[in-house]
Structure formats: structure tokens, C-alpha cells
């Protein structure tokens, strides 16, 4: 999984996690399903946690390249 893919998954992961919490709290799933949900939720939570810890400040300035496409360069905001 690339960083971009992982990040794209953060929102979905959080949404699924919230759903799992609600499903588990409803308590009407068969035990086997509940165990599976718990396992899935724990994995998602760990993945999200890992993403949060990967965070790294990144600031760029954009300019128009010769073909019109954006060109990035690091932007120093003086901090």
C-alpha cells in the first residue's frame, strides 16, 4: 500500500470503525460475527493510529510549469 492509498483509506477506515463500534454496541450480532467485527475494528484502529503517527508537515508552493502543469517546490514559511 502506498502512502497515498493509506491516506485515502483514513476517512473510510474511520467511518467503518465508527460503524463497527455501533454494531458491536447494538449487541445483536451472532457471537462469531461480533468477534470478527472486533478483530476488523482493532486492525482498522491500529492502521489509523499508525497513519496519525506518520504525520509530517509538508508545505509546497505551486507554480505553473512550461506545459501548464503544476510544479511544486518547497515553501519555507520561516518556521
Amino acid at each position: 500500500m502506498t502512502v497515498a492509498e493509506k491516506k485515502a483509506g483514513f476517512e473510510q477506515s474511520m467511518a467503518r470503525l465508527e460503524e463497527i463500534v455501533k454494531l458491536l454496541e447494538r449487541g445483536d450480532a451472532p457471537l462469531e460475527d461480533a468477534m470478527k467485527l472486533f478483530e476488523e475494528g482493532t486492525k482498522l484502529a491500529e492502521a489509523c493510529d499508525a497513519l496519525l503517527n506518520e504525520a509530517e508537515k509538508k508545505v509546497v508552493a505551486l507554480s505553473k510549469g512550461p506545459d501548464g502543469a503544476p510544479v511544486e517546490r518547497d515553501f519555507d514559511d520561516g518556521e
Binding site: 497515498a4 491516506k7 485515502a8 483514513f10 476517512e11 474511520m14 470503525l17 465508527e18 463497527i20 463500534v21 458491536l24 454496541e25 449487541g27 450480532a29 457471537l31 461480533a34 468477534m35 467485527l37 472486533f38 475494528g41 482493532t42 484502529a45 489509523c48 493510529d49 497513519l51 496519525l52 506518520e54 504525520a55 509530517e56 508537515k57 509538508k58 508545505v59 509546497v60 508552493a61 505551486l62 507554480s63 505553473k64 502543469a69 503544476p70 511544486e72 515553501f75 514559511d77 520561516g78 518556521e79
Partner: protein, 398 residues
């Protein structure tokens, strides 16, 4: 002509009384250019209003000056409201200013209100058009000056709150005649190349003229047309520009825009922790429910007294067996009766019964049955079947 000789003070007082007695001069608007503008340590402002023909000395005391909405500077055109009086020590009349507004702002204000009304009527401010903001933006385009405090505030707050987002600056001028076109083109560029999932555009505080680019119709329309959601962040809290009305979300300041744009890292982490705790406790509860059900099941008769369970089933089986037997017997009796009825019907149709009553069957030599007298040929031999046997006969005539 009077030959009274005045002292300077007397004459000055006379002039002062004369001027002070003119109601028209006690509340007068004067338009002119500010010059020699000075703010004294006392907080009072001293300056001159001038035009091509004349100059007028003016003073604005600290109390009035504290209510200024802009920072007056020499060279600026302004309209002052005040009263004319004489300052005897200098022997000069001057304007005691109670209000000072930049000249032309009246026109700007009018243009602002007119544009606001026009765009509102067109539906550019409709809440139905406002786009939702991404919950976790990964890339944020910042359309502002690369030099101002605004960009630093946005970067500082956004990267502290949510360092997962990449911040992409599209540098533009945010004041001056070129600013609107640059802002418009940056917003469109960000959309065309999908450089981000959210745009913040704005600038730091300033005078109404400084903020004017964000009251430009072209900028308003570019924000309206943007596919990417736009947060406006212009000036300070009380400054509301046209861009603020048309943006998907209005931030009071650039820092506030960053707060609105991204979630808080700490909060998300705590949320994750609380979800994990809730999952664990829900699963624990679920396990206890299952354990409880198991206990309940164990207490049932089938498990506690399996013998009784089988006894019950055995009785049911016996009962069913008896039912099956009687059903079979009934069916057999019915079939037997049907068979008897058919056998006697068959018996009634038997040819032997007909022969027994004295009839005979005549058979030709070729084995066919003679059914009509016309079919018999004289001299022909026939075989007659009777109830107890056969006889051979010869046809003699008709």
C-alpha cells in the same frame, strides 16, 4: 468704521464668537486631501486638509481618533466632519474633526452593497449551493500572498492541528488592481489540475481598500464556480467581504480558516482510543450475553434429564406408528371394495355367460365370426361354439 482699538485677544475673541455663532460651521463636512498628518504622543491627530485652492488646519482629538476605521495618511483623500473654530493662541481657525472617512469609500460601500444584492438575487449565496468540506483533507490549496501574515497563520495552525495534510500555496497578489484576476486564475487553476481537495483563500486585515479584491465580482464568481470547496478567510472578524458570502464556509480570520479546514490530531487520537475502548467493552458484554444464554440452555430438561426427553419422543413415535397403521388399514379396505365391484362388472360382460343362456357363436373357416345371415354361403362349413363345446355344421340354404 469704528475707531475702537482692539487688543489682539479681543479681536480674536470677536472673530471666534462670530464663527462659533454660525450654525452652518458647527457641523460641516469638508472634502480634501490629508497632508502633514501627525499623530502626537498625546493621541491627538494634527493635519491639514487641502485642495487646489486652499488649506484648512484640522485636529482630531484622541477620543474621536480612537474610533477611526482606517489609518489616515498624508496624501489620502478624505471627508471630515467637524466644527470650525478659532484657536486664539495661533490666531488661526481650524476644523475640530469628530469623524473622518476615506473619500471614495462611500462609492466603494455603495458598489459593495449593489454587488452583494445582485449576487444574492442570482443565488450565489444560496446555502443549497454550499459544498460540504472533506472531513480529512489530504491536500489544501492556499490562495493568498506568499509574503503576508495570513499564509504563515494558516500554515502554523493547519500543520499543528493536522500534520497529515499537505499544504499547497498558490501565491497571488491580494491587493491592487491585478489581485482579482490573479485570485480568479489561481482558483481556476487549482480546480483544473485538481491540486487539492479544499481551497482556502483570503488575506490578513487591512483597510476596506486593502480587502477590496475579495469584493470583486470576478473573484465571487470564481469561488461560486469552484468544484473544490472554498473557505474564505479575509481580514479580521468584523470584515465581511462578498467572497465570504459566496464561499462554502466563511472563516473569521486566516487562522480560523485552518481550524475549520482540518480536524484536530489530538481529538482524532482520543476518538480512536475511545472507539477501541467501546469495542472492547461491547465485545465483553456480548460474550457475557452468550455465556448467560449457554447457562440458560444447560438448565433445560433435555440436557438435565435426557431420559425424559427420549421418553417423550418415544410416546410420540408410538402414537405416530398407530396412526400410520390405521391409515394403511383403511386404505386397504377401500381398495379391496373397489376391486370386488370391478370384478363383478367384468363377470357380467363375459361371453361364456351369453352362451350359457343358449346362444351360439358361428365361426367361418377363415376364423371370422358370422354376424349376418347374408354372410353365409350354401355348402360352407361353420364352427359353432356352445356353452359346453363346439360342433361342425354345414350351411344348406338361406
Amino acid at each position: 468704521m469704528s475707531d475702537r482699538i482692539y487688543t489682539v485677544g479681543e479681536l480674536t475673541r470677536e472673530i471666534k464668537d462670530l464663527l462659533d455663532g454660525q450654525p452652518a460651521l458647527q457641523q460641516v463636512y469638508v472634502r480634501g486631501e490629508l497632508s502633514n498628518y501627525k499623530v502626537y504622543p498625546s493621541g491627538h491627530h494634527y493635519f491639514t486638509l487641502k485642495d487646489e485652492e486652499a488649506t484648512l488646519k484640522a485636529v482630531m482629538f484622541r477620543r474621536e481618533a480612537s474610533r477611526l476605521h482606517f489609518r489616515p495618511e498624508s496624501g489620502m483623500k478624505a471627508i471630515a466632519l467637524g466644527r470650525i473654530t478659532v484657536y486664539p493662541r495661533d490666531g488661526a481657525y481650524q476644523l475640530y474633526v469628530s469623524e473622518l472617512v476615506p473619500d471614495g469609500v462611500g462609492d466603494l460601500q455603495l458598489a459593495y452593497e449593489q454587488l452583494k444584492e445582485k449576487l444574492r438575487a442570482e443565488g450565489l449565496f444560496d446555502s443549497a449551493h454550499k459544498k460540504p468540506l472533506p472531513a480529512y483533507p489530504e491536500r489544501i490549496a492556499i490562495v493568498t500572498s506568499s509574503a503576508g501574515a495570513a499564509v504563515r497563520d494558516i500554515i502554523r495552525v493547519a500543520s499543528k492541528r493536522w500534520p497529515l495534510a499537505k499544504l499547497i500555496l498558490l501565491p497571488v497578489r491580494v491587493q491592487g488592481a491585478e489581485a482579482p484576476a490573479e485570485i480568479v486564475s489561481a482558483i481556476r487553476y487549482a480546480n483544473r489540475w485538481s491540486v487539492a481537495d479544499l481551497i482556502i483563500t483570503g488575506r490578513g486585515g487591512g483597510s476596506i481598500e486593502d480587502l477590496w479584491a475579495f469584493n470583486d465580482e470576478r473573484v465571487a464568481r470564481a469561488i461560486y464556480e469552484s468544484e473544490l470547496p472554498v473557505i474564505s478567510a479575509v481580514g479580521h472578524e468584523p470584515d465581511v467581504t462578498i467572497a465570504d458570502f459566496v464561499a462554502d464556509l466563511r472563516a473569521a480570520t486566516p487562522s480560523n480558516a485552518a481550524e475549520l479546514a482540518v480536524p484536530d490530531w489530538e481529538e482524532q487520537r482520543e476518538l480512536l482510543l475511545s472507539w477501541r475502548a467501546r469495542m472492547a467493552s461491547a465485545l465483553r458484554t456480548r460474550l457475557e450475553t452468550s455465556r448467560h444464554r449457554l447457562t440458560k440452555l444447560r438448565e433445560r430438561r433435555v440436557l438435565t434429564e435426557p431420559g425424559a426427553y427420549f421418553a417423550d419422543r418415544r410416546i410420540a413415535l408410538d402414537h405416530l406408528g398407530a396412526l400410520l397403521l390405521s391409515a394403511c388399514q383403511a386404505r386397504l379396505a377401500k381398495d379391496r371394495a373397489a376391486l370386488g365391484a370391478r370384478a363383478s362388472a367384468l363377470d357380467a360382460m363375459s361371453p361364456l355367460k351369453v352362451l350359457a343362456r343358449g346362444y351360439a357363436i358361428a365361426e367361418k373357416e377363415d376364423g371370422t365370426i358370422l354376424r349376418r345371415a347374408a354372410g353365409a354361403v350354401p355348402g360352407e362349413r361353420l364352427k359353432l361354439s356352445l356353452a359346453d363345446g363346439r360342433v361342425n355344421v354345414r350351411v344348406e340354404g338361406e
